[in-house]
């Protein structure tokens, strides 16, 4: 199995607060991994360390076999900015608050980075964007601006935008947390389709039903550490730690 992401002994401090305290995680190609846990458990921070939105305090990160961060003599070393940017393009990210570009149409949102970063021809990028719009079921919104969309539609466009760079790994940071309950379904449906197509995904989520149903592996985090990790069946039907038991009791 090809390893897409390898994180070893990640420590992340915000001031004197340890947001991540010796976290190790590996994601294989084609895997869907869900990270669950209470607010402030460090799950979003872990995700944001993968594509350098946060820098780690100590540890080792390898993306698609290349070293993004390593610790030498107690100091974290990152490559030059250009290298970081190139490596981070191996990942695509979907944010809780969408972060679509409001001054660009949906189609432009999707094709902007492929044209600017990869130097794709506008016509080719446009064609690819149209395919992605179809994948997320929003072909009719190609020329609409983000402000003209519902929350669920915005998030589906954001997913298409992330996919447009052909990432090896898709990162989802609570993609349905800002949505009304009745429209989370349309976003989860798109993500389910991606899982079926064996897109490699790392998903921070509060949707337990979705994690149970779609994830190959579920990680439970609390207080900056991975408390328990296993298949959905192991995590949801047979939780070992008391912390996970009480968490599941509270949310299910």
């Amino acid at each position: 199995m090809e390893i897409v992401l390898q994180m070893e002994h990640i420590i992340k401090y915000f001031g004197s607060l340890a947001a991540l305290n010796d976290v190790s995680l590996t994601v294989q190609k084609g895997e869907t991994v869900a990270i669950i846990g209470p607010s402030g458990s460090g799950k979003s921070t872990l995700l944001r360390c993968v594509n350098h939105l946060e820098t780690i305090t100590s540890g080792h990160i390898r993306l698609v076999g290349e070293t993004l961060a390593e610790t030498k003599n107690g100091y974290v070393v990152y490559p030059p900015e250009k290298e970081i940017r190139r490596m981070c393009a191996y990942t695509g990210m979907v944010f809780q608050h969408f972060n679509l570009f409001p001054h660009l149409t949906c189609l432009q949102n999707i094709s902007y980075a492929p044209i600017k970063v990869k130097g794709e021809y506008p016509a080719a990028a446009r064609k690819r964007a149209e395919e992605l719009l179809e994948l997320v079921g929003l072909s009719v919104k190609a020329d609409a601006y983000p402000a003209q969309l519902s929350g669920g539609q915005k998030q589906r466009i954001a997913i298409a935008r992330g996919l447009a760079m052909d990432p090896q790994l898709m990162l989802f940071d609570e993609p349905t947390s800002a949505l009304d309950p009745e429209i989370t379904g349309e976003v989860l449906a798109v993500m389910r389709r991606l899982a079926e197509q064996k897109t490699t995904m790392l998903i921070v989520t509060h949707e337990m039903g979705f994690a149970r149903e779609v994830a190959d592996r579920v990680i439970f985090m609390d207080n900056g550490v991975i408390v328990e990790e296993g298949t959905p069946a192991e995590i949801f039907q047979n939780p070992k730690s008391e912390r996970l038991q009480s968490f599941l009791h509270a949310v299910l």
């Binding site: 990942t91 990210m93 969408f98 149409t105 609409a144």
Partner: protein, 234 residues
């Protein structure tokens, strides 16, 4: 009560006689206005970006520039460039002699660029962090993010304060009369002193009002145009 005693036709005749002089002044006012705006708007942007630079000396230079030009009276700056700069450069055996109009343009451009820099900086800082994060996650470089994502959004946000500054600028051009540039204010003053009649001031005020009215219309049109993408579908 001299004015009231005159018949209407006499008044109109007087107004008619004043107009060529005032309109000549108005053209110069307009020239100063347009040149200042066209040159200071683009000059403001590098100073705005420089104020947030990662390189400390660039940051200091930009902040000091803004501090000096916003922190001293515009009239003083006009005097400085008109009277003191030639004296100073003379002592260095350089002969820089600028006429009033050129001095006015240089001073106004430098002064207004400082104001625009602050407006732009505020606009850039008001853009949500998520826009930077999304850009970074897509692999966009810093300059691609700035020029493709951040600045286009900033332009829309700064339109109201920029048009406000533009209206102030129209009125500030009157200051140039102190370095004997024959713009609208100076033309009006000349007529008033010559004829001992304040009619020219009234006409000048009407011309300034016309300019600001047209500017207000233009800025409203631009604001509408730039917020097209925010209008929801009905």
């Amino acid at each position: 009560m001299l004015l009231a005693a005159k018949t209407l036709s006499e008044t109109l005749q007087y107004v008619w006689a004043l107009m060529p002089m005032l309109l000549q002044g108005a053209v110069i006012t307009l020239e100063i206005f347009v040149l200042t705006l066209v040159l200071s708007l683009p000059l403001g942007l590098p100073f705005a970006l420089g104020s947030n630079s990662r390189i400390p000396p660039i940051r200091w230079i930009c902040k000091t520039y803004v501090w000096i030009f916003r922190g001293t009276p515009l009239m003083l700056q006009l005097f400085f460039f008109y009277f003191f700069l030639p004296i100073f450069t003379n002592s260095l055996h350089m002969n820089i002699l600028l006429d009033g109009f050129t001095t006015a343009i240089i001073t106004f451009v430098l002064n207004y660029a400082a104001y625009f820099a602050e407006i732009f900086r505020g606009g850039i800082e008001s853009i949500d962090r998520g826009q930077y994060e999304a850009s970074k996650s897509l692999g966009l470089s810093r300059s691609q993010t700035m020029f493709g994502i951040i600045i286009p959004q900033m332009v829309k946000r700064v339109l109201p304060p920029v048009s406000n500054e533009a209206i102030t600028l129209i009125k500030d051009t009157a200051l140039v009369s102190v370095i004997s540039v024959a713009e609208l204010m100076k033309a009006a003053k000349g007529a008033v002193n010559r004829d001992v009649n304040t009619m020219a001031y009234l006409l000048a005020a009407l011309i300034y009002l016309l300019f600001t009215f047209l500017l207000t219309m233009l800025s409203r049109y631009l604001e509408k145009r730039f917020s097209r993408h925010e209008v929801k579908e009905i």
